[in-house]
């Protein structure tokens, strides 16, 4: 069965650069979520989209933005990168707004140097 696809798997950027992470949810899932997981930390919710509209917002810095496109894929845009942005970024998708469980992608490991 198709899973949540994230790209790229690894990304190295310098401070103050921008990065774009992509997520392709499971077909027919109606909600996409972005999470950030710092080293040794639990995943923190950033933002979600329900049927291509922004749904909930968590601890997402103003330097980050995200959107979901007509084909349901989502992109997380990160500007003015800081060393502290180095983390694993997960995308997840769900049906029924998450009530029945989430499926997570394998994540993008972002390293800011």
């Amino acid at each position: 069965a198709a899973g949540v696809i994230q790209s790229p798997r690894h990304l190295i950027k310098e401070k103050r650069e921008t990065a774009t992470l992509k997520c392709y949810p499971i077909p027919r899932h109606d909600t996409v979520y972005w999470y950030q997981q710092g080293p040794g930390q639990d995943p923190q919710f950033l933002i979600s989209f329900y049927e291509k509209m922004q749904s909930d917002k968590g601890s997402i810095p103003d330097r980050f933005s995200a959107q979901q496109f007509s084909d349901y894929h989502s992109e997380l845009n990160m500007s003015s990168l800081e060393l502290g942005d180095s983390a694993l970024y997960f995308c997840a998708s769900s049906f029924g707004r998450g009530l029945y469980g989430y499926t997570f992608g394998s994540g993008t490991r972002l390293t800011v140097v």
Binding site: T31, Y35, D42, F45, F90, A92, L99, G101, Y102, F104
Partner: protein, 112 residues
């Protein structure tokens, strides 16, 4: 603030033993979910227990939920070296936004 907190933070056992991890949370929930994460890898959904359920089984996994105490436990029976991973509980409450809130995770090491 964290919704779920896990106990213990780290657990080391021998292969064949049982592993029990506990999770506490603070608010009402619709369901509680357990996830597994191998080092630096993705989160894998293990089991979901609804707020009106008290116990659920899946293979060697047994999850209990006590909504009066706002706590859950994950039991892995007859552990294997391949069970070595971090285990997270996460709560879902649609009146507080439709997102999962994760706890701190338990790092389980199963020694062969």
């Amino acid at each position: 603030s964290q919704q779920g907190e896990e106990d213990p933070q780290a657990l080391s056992i021998q292969e064949g033993e049982n592993a029990t991890m506990n999770c506490s949370y603070k608010t009402s929930i619709n369901n509680l979910q357990w996830y597994r994460q191998n080092s630096g890898r993705g989160l894998v959904h293990l089991i979901l227990i609804r707020s009106n359920e008290r116990e659920k089984h899946s293979g060697r996994l047994r999850v209990t939920l006590d909504t009066s105490k706002k706590s859950s436990s994950l039991l892995i029976t007859a552990s294997r070296a391949a069970d070595t991973a971090s285990y997270f509980c996460a709560t879902y409450y649609n009146n507080a936004g439709n997102m999962l809130t994760f706890g701190g995770g338990t790092r389980l090491m199963v020694k062969p």
